[in-house]
Subunit: 414 residues, 2 copies
């Protein structure tokens, strides 16, 4: 199902080499024809790793594999395929992960448990891992430090544009780089949207510190976005540090104040990068024509604000109204009210595009509709919700719900 | 936005008079032209009442009014308008309810608090209650015991067919009747789906017993259905007993075993009627082409089963797959897993149309696909989910998600 590039697409930025990371993509014909569908990423011995995975209770076999591998805190190779998610595939799925990791580990000269695997695509079909392992030697031959774009393209499913970004950060006196690629949330098969994200840095950071920063970063980025409320069985974010940059040593002990100070700028840059990638995924949400930012203030606490924001972001009536360029604040009131969180209709304020439209239980008489109408016609829509109850705040991002979503997901798989 | 009648529509049944209930509808031109939009229903002095309302934290003014009126447990008149929901309208909205109730009460010779009001339609616009009160005298003149169909039609918004049903039940030696009408879930404006349901019986039942039975009945019917996961600000179910039937006296004391025995058949008939009406609403869900039943078994408890069933029923990926006649069990696995309830991928079984397709973490090799494909092409789709963990069960109903939903809700209001 070839689709036009999302109107919200961003151009791939320049991605300079990152010391220690080499990447390659090739076509294994697992599901797609005439395109790359297997990606290998290799880092030097001693690289540390952190990961965050789907909260879905029915995770794919690669997620189980990565969770187990992460216990060692070490990574050497990442192998990703597009077209088959290797989810709900029982023992055959587990065997596919083990066989792929063993083959890649043998090539790289590392234990299978230092190989991370990820798969995205159709659910419930056994991954033909023979096809995958057959291309690994050639893939490894092709590894190159300028392979970023090839890798970003090789992990796409029905993504309409490749997603990547890069940042620099200071650690002590040295500058380090962080670069990440992501895919989501399109489908060919179609099956569920699958979000994969791989982030690398040349910094030398212990695995536990990486994990702490990644948890925090994902909380403020990917976990604040939604396309269609359906949590994939395959969501995976990996952060791997090659340790090739020359900077003063990051202390090993966790919770260390000196360590926190030292990594403050890195953590800021990582959060910024993760949000950039997360928003690229939302910009490529299935059928998306508009990027929507929802700011909630005045909730009883931050958790409540987040739940209200997510309820609004997932409301099909709000999302279809935005698709129709209708600043339908009544539907936003409805979505706030259904969230199950503390809310008082008569203290609630709703604004769109910087204009407050409704306040204290009623529409604001004579509010200026013209800038709101103009705002709704744009590619980016901002909704403000103030509960008037407390100091809880949250921001989430979503996209509109259009005929494109039904087209992509309502057609028969075969 | 004229739409064709839902392919899932049911024919209006014969609705015999119900002792004590008289109904009428008329055109007040509140929003629609050339159709009835105000309905009056009157019952004799001494009629008892019970009600269940939206859980939305931003309810409409009529919901607030009805909740307050219900404290008296008495009803004489119900006035309903279509086209304007009188929601988020502040003091003007409260005044509209009070003025309507005062005018109707004066005509019927009862306190305003024995008048129940309900409104459905656009949100955030002040209800022009002058237009409404102006037609009340003529409406009252037109009250008739055969006004059921007129009432069912007068409360429609973008409903594509009128919804009503009737049952008989035994209380002691006597036969009583229960008849209800409902509307939902379409929109013209479009604003959010609003569900209204009015049920009458000629039985003589104390208000507290009515309320207990209604709570239970709604739990097993309306609260087990979803069209689009968006909880309206106006949902209202009223149950009014005229007491005109001749049957032995229902004991006043609540929790009385003799009373429970006496009302057992009534309660059964009421539950049956409520489910019938609730399914009529789902059959007219916006854009619906298929009615979907989801049976969950083997959950850790009933509450968990219900949450899992509702998560599947609200998953846009499951609903679009059904629209595409695709028995996409992978998406069902995803939805089960994202519910946040106990689930074990490797004990999970998924069936469609009576055929188990996936079991113990993988597809069932060689399962018979032909009957599944045939089942998916029908108007009614049945999904079975067994968690394999405990004895918790639940059944919920929904509809598919089609282009029709986007058409209805994605066009600009004006």
């Amino acid at each position: 199902m070839p689709t036009a590039v999302s109107p919200l697409a961003v151009t791939l930025p320049e991605l300079p080499p990152l010391a220690g990371v080499r990447l390659a993509a090739t076509a294994a014909g697992i599901r797609y024809q005439d395109r790359t569908d297997v990606v290998m990423m290799e880092v030097p011995s001693g690289s540390s790793a952190a990961g965050v995975f789907t909260s879905n209770k029915c995770p794919g076999a690669p997620v189980d594999w990565c969770r187990a591998s992460l216990r060692g805190g070490r990574a050497r190779v990442v192998v990703v395929n597009a077209g088959n998610a290797n989810v709900f595939t029982g023992k055959a799925g587990r065997d596919a992960c083990a066989a792929t990791a063993a083959a890649a580990g043998k090539l790289a000269g590392c234990p299978a448990r230092q190989v991370f695997v990820a798969s995205t695509g159709v659910i419930g079909e056994v991954l033909p891992h023979d096809k995958l392992t057959a291309v690994l030697p050639a893939l490894r031959e092709g590894l190159a430090e300028d392979g970023w774009e090839a890798a970003a393209r090789g992990i796409m499913t029905t993504d309409t544009f490749p997603k990547a970004t890069t940042r620099v950060a200071q650690i002590g006196d040295a500058q380090v780089r962080i670069t990440g690629i992501a895919k989501g949330s399109g489908m060919i098969a179609p099956d569920m949207a699958t979000m994969l994200c791989f982030v690398f840095t040349d910094a030398k950071i212990p695995a536990d510190a990486l994990q702490t920063m990644l948890n925090k970063g994902v909380r403020g980025s990917f976990n604040c976005t939604t396309v269609d409320s359906d949590t994939s069985t395959s969501d995976t974010v990996l952060l791997i540090a090659t340790g090739q940059a020359k900077h003063s040593r990051v202390p090993a002990a966790d919770g260390n104040a000196a360590r926190n100070r030292m990594l403050a700028d890195f953590s800021r840059a990582l959060n910024d990068l993760l949000l950039d990638l997360a928003l690229q995924v939302v910009r490529d949400g299935e059928g998306a024509r508009k990027l929507v930012k929802i700011d909630v203030t005045g909730a009883v606490n931050a958790r409540s604000a987040k739940r209200i924001a997510m309820t609004v972001a997932n409301s099909p009536l709000v999302k279809t109204a935005i698709a129709g360029e209708d600043a339908n604040w009544g539907r936003i009131v409805m979505a706030v009210g259904k969230a199950g969180e503390p809310a008082d209709r008569d203290r609630l304020s709703i604004g769109v595009g910087g204009v407050w439209m409704a306040r204290e239980g009623a529409v604001i008489p004579g509010y200026d509709e013209a800038p709101v109408v103009a705002h709704m016609k744009g590619l980016e829509v901002e909704i403000a919700i103030d509960l008037g109850l407390g100091r809880g705040m949250a921001t989430v991002w979503t996209c509109d719900l259009t005929h494109g979503y039904i087209d992509i997901n309502g057609s028969y798989r075969s």
